[in-house]
Symmetry: C2
Subunit: 478 residues, 2 copies
C-alpha cells in the first residue's frame, strides 16, 4: 500500500455532529421526493464517477495494490450499480404498494380502507469495504440502495483507501449539487471514533457494513446494544465451500483444479465469495493440480494489516492437524493445504475464512460423509457443487446446502457476482447479520425501507410519492 | 387470575433437548413439502381449534380474567388467522420467485441462469403473549406465519394461561398428526429456563416475541448475543399517540372523548395498540369528558404481576410534573391524567407505555408545538390524528408521524386490528425490534423466509416446491 498524500484527518466530534445533522435534515426532503427524481440524480452521480474515472483510478491504484484493469472493471460495475438501483428508485415496485378498500363484511371485524407503502427508514450509516474501493465504497451498493429507498447516507471511509474515499465523496457531492439533490444526501466521516459515534447516534436509523468478522461483530454489538437498537446489515465472513463428487473428479479433475486455483487467487483472494474450502475425493490429485496452477510469487494485499493477518492465517492453515502444504510454504504466497475429512468429522477442526489467496482441500474417502461435512460449515454466502448429470452424491447434498447458504452454484465458481435481482448475496451468520437481506441487486433497497399503513387516510395528506403511485394505479384500473 | 388445576411443570433440560431435536428433524421435511400441503394441515388445526372452542374458552376464562364474549371473538380471529396464512402458504406468491435466463451480453459481465426463491429459515421459537391467549399464543400469528413459511415452531407457553397453553398444544398436535404433518412441526416448552435455553440453542434459527419491553429486551439481547446471532422479531411496547387538532376538538369534542375512553379501557387496556397519550387543545374539556366516560370500578387484569405493574404505573402517571388526575385516583381503576405540553417541551418528562386502562392527555396551547411534541414520542405501532378536512395542523404532523410509526389512522382509533395484508403491524423500536417486519397479516410469513439463489442449477436438484412453481410458471408462459 502506497499513499500519495497525507491521509485525511479523522473527523472531529463537532464535524461528526454537523454531518449527522445534515443527514437528519435531508431525510424528510428525500422522503417527500419522487423516486424518479432520485433516480435522476443517482444517474448524475454515476455519470460523474465515469467522467472522473482516470483520476479516481490513479488514486485507487496507488492506495490498494489492485491492478488497474481490475479496478477499471470495478468502476464500470459501480456505475452500473448506481444505474440499476436508479431503475429501482424509479420503479412503481419500489413502494411495494398494497391497497385495500373498506369492507364491512370482512371476517372477524369490518376492515377500514388501507394503503400500505414501503417508505424510507431514515439516515443510513455505511461502513465501506477495503476490497472493493469503488463497488462497496463511497457510492457503492449500500449507498446506492439506500438512496434508491430514499435515505440520506453517511459513509465511514475505509482506511485502506483514504484519498480515494475522500475524492469520490467530493465528486459525488458536486454531482448531487448539480442535480439538485438536497444537502445532507451524502456525508463522509473518517476514523473509527467518528464511525462508532455515528453508529450509536439516535439520528442514524440503520447501518450497512462489509468487512471482517471481528470488526463487523464489534459494530453489530454496538448497533443492537443501543437504547434503541437499529437494523444492522453486515456482511462479515464466508467460507464458500465447494463440493466435488467422485463422478465429477473422475470426469474433469484438471478443469476443476484449474478453475479452483483461479477462483482462490483472483484479485488476491480478497473477495467475499472466494472459495475457502473444497471437498475432493482422496486420491483424485485435485489438490496437487490446483497447487501447481497457483503462482509462487509473493502476493500484494490491500493493506499492511490484511497482509499481516494473511500470513498468520496461512501459518494456522499449515498447522491444521493432518495438514499437507501443497502451495504457500512461505506464507507470503498463495497457499493450499489438504487435510483428511476425518479431522473434521472426528477431530476438533473448525474451518474459518482466511482472507487472501488461501484455501483448504478436505479429502474424503466415503462420499456418504459429504453431507455430515456440509453440516460442519458455518453460514456462507455461497456453496458450489461440481457434479455430473444424475449424480446421487450431489443430490444428497442439496438440503444441507440450501439450509446454510444464500446461493448455490452448479459446476461453476462463486467469484464473479452478477448485479441483478435474482442474485441473492447474503446468508446465515457470519455471512450476514441479517440473513433475509441481500447487499447486491435491486432488492438491496428493501433493507432501507419500512412499511407504513395509512388507515382511512385523506389522499391529500399522503406522502407525495404514495399519492402519485395511487393516482397512477387508479388510472391503470380505469 | 384463577387456575383450575396445578400449572404444568417447567420443561426439563432433557425434554427441551428432545423438543428442539424434533423441530430440527422436521425442518427439512417441511422445507421439502409443497405449500399447499402445509395449507391443508394448517386448516385442519384451525378446524380443531374451532371444534374445541367451548373447552378452550372455559380454560381461558378461568385463567385470564378476560370476558368470555371477547375471548370467543378472539377464537374466531385465531381460526381466521390460520386460514389467512394457510392461503399464503398455498399462494405462488409465497416463494417470491425471480427467474432470470443466462445473458452473455449482460452489463459488466455475463450473467448465469438464476432462480431465486424464498425458503424457510429453519426452526422458529415463539414466546407467546399474555394478552391474546389465542391470537398471539400457541397457534397464533407467529406460529401460523412460521408454518406458512415452512418452519417448525417451538412455543414457549405463557405463564398467564398455562393450562390453556398446554391444552391448545394438545389439540393442535392431534390435528397435525391427523392431517399427516411431520412430528416436530409444533413443540411446547414451559418455564423461563427452557425458553432461554432454546433461544440460545443453535438449532433455533429465528425468534418471535410479543410482550413487555423489559422481558423482550432481555430475550433480544440473548438472541443477538449468541455466537451466531439470529433474527429476533419482538413487539415490545407502544404509546400509540393520538393528536387532536383544534378544529377537530371544536367540531366534535364529546365524540372524540367517548371514543378515546372506549379505546383506552377496552379489554382492560391490555392491547398493544391502546392509545397511551392524547394531545388535546388546552381548554377543550376533552380530558374531563373522557374521564367521565370511564368506569370507576376496579379493573380485573390478566395476571397478578400485570395488576401490580399497573398500580405502580398509575402512581407514576399521577406523580408526573404538573399532573392533574381526572380518573383513577385509587390506582386500581381506569386512569386518566393531564399534563401541560410545556412539561414535555421544556421539562424532563418522557412518556412510557403503562400496560392497562390508563392514559395521559397532554394539553397544548399552541398548535405549532404539536410537531415538536410528536418528535418526543418513541417509535410506535400507530399514531392517530383527529382532524377536519383541509386542516393545516393535521397536515403539518404527517412527516413526523410517518417517520416513527407503522400505521397512521385518520379520525378513528388504533385498537381493533384487521388481519389483512395491507395492515402493517410494527414500527421503530420499541414497537418492534425489526421495524421492517409485520407480525400480523399474510406478509408476517416473510419474517421466517430467507432467499436462496440457484445458479446454473439442474432442475432435478431444485427443492420440490421451487421445481413445482417453475413448472407452473413455464406452463403459464407457454
Amino acid at each position: 500500500m502506497t499513499t500519495t498524500a497525507a491521509a485525511p484527518a479523522d473527523t472531529t466530534t463537532y464535524d461528526t455532529d454537523l454531518v449527522l445533522a445534515a443527514a437528519d435534515a435531508a431525510a424528510p426532503v428525500l422522503a417527500a421526493q419522487e423516486g424518479a427524481e432520485r433516480a435522476r440524480w443517482m444517474r448524475t452521480v454515476a455519470a460523474a464517477v465515469d467522467e472522473h474515472r482516470a483520476e479516481l483510478l490513479d488514486l485507487a491504484v496507488a492506495e490498494t495494490c489492485l491492478p488497474r484493469a481490475a479496478l477499471d472493471v470495478e468502476v464500470t460495475r459501480t456505475v452500473f450499480q448506481l444505474q440499476h438501483l436508479a431503475d429501482r428508485a424509479a420503479s412503481p415496485e419500489l413502494l411495494d404498494l398494497v391497497v385495500e378498500e373498506a369492507d364491512a363484511d370482512y371476517p372477524v371485524a369490518p376492515r377500514p380502507a388501507l394503503v400500505r407503502a414501503a417508505l424510507p427508514i431514515g439516515p443510513v450509516l455505511v461502513f465501506t469495504a477495503s476490497n472493493f474501493p469503488f463497488a462497496f465504497s463511497v457510492v457503492g451498493n449500500d449507498t446506492a440502495s439506500a438512496w434508491a429507498a430514499g435515505c440520506p447516507v453517511v459513509v465511514k471511509g475505509n482506511p485502506g483507501h483514504p484519498q480515494l474515499s475522500r475524492r469520490t465523496f467530493e465528486v459525488a457531492v458536486a454531482a448531487l449539487r448539480k442535480a439538485g439533490a438536497p444537502d445532507g444526501t451524502l456525508g463522509h466521516l473518517t476514523g473509527v471514533a467518528a464511525g462508532t459515534a455515528a453508529l450509536v447516534d439516535g439520528r442514524i436509523r440503520a447501518c450497512g457494513f462489509t468487512g471482517s468478522l471481528a470488526g463487523g461483530r464489534v459494530l453489530f454489538d454496538l448497533a443492537v446494544g443501543r437504547p434503541d437498537p437499529i437494523p444492522f446489515f453486515g456482511e462479515l465472513a464466508s467460507l464458500n465451500p465447494v463440493y466435488v463428487t467422485p463422478a465429477a473428479a473422475q470426469a474433469r479433475v484438471a478443469e476443476i483444479a484449474a478453475g479452483f486455483a483461479a477462483s482462490v487467487t483472483g484479485r488476491g483472494g480478497q473477495l467475499c465469495t472466494k472459495p475457502g474450502v473444497l471437498f475432493a475425493p482422496a486420491g483424485s490429485g485435485l489438490a496437487a493440480a490446483a497447487a501447481a496452477a497457483m503462482s509462487p510469487d509473493d502476493v500484494d494485499l490491500l493493506t499492511d494489516r490484511i497482509a499481516h493477518a494473511y500470513q498468520e492465517g496461512v501459518k494456522a492453515l499449515a498447522a491444521l492437524p493432518g495438514a499437507t502444504v501443497h502451495a504457500g510454504g512461505a506464507a507470503t504466497q498463495a497457499a493450499l493445504v489438504t487435510i483428511p475429512a476425518a479431522e473434521i468429522l472426528f477431530g476438533a477442526v473448525t474451518l474459518e475464512e482466511c482472507f487472501g489467496p488461501a484455501a483448504v482441500v478436505v479429502e474424503y474417502d466415503d462420499p456418504a460423509d459429504l453431507t455430515a461435512l456440509a453440516d460442519r460449515i458455518d453460514g456462507a454466502l455461497t456453496a458450489t457443487v461440481h457434479g455430473e448429470p444424475a449424480d446421487p452424491v450431489a443430490a444428497a447434498l442439496v438440503p444441507a446446502l440450501t439450509e446454510r447458504v444464500g446461493r448455490v452454484i452448479w459446476n461453476g465458481w462463486p467469484t464473479g457476482v452478477a448485479v441483478t435481482r435474482a442474485l441473492h448475496h447474503g446468508g446465515p451468520y457470519p455471512a450476514s447479520t441479517a440473513p433475509s437481506s441481500t447487499s447486491i441487486g435491486a432488492d438491496a433497497a428493501r433493507r432501507w425501507q419500512r412499511p407504513v399503513t395509512f388507515q382511512n387516510w385523506p389522499a391529500a395528506l399522503l406522502p407525495g410519492p404514495v399519492r402519485t403511485a395511487l393516482t397512477r394505479s387508479a388510472g391503470r384500473r380505469g
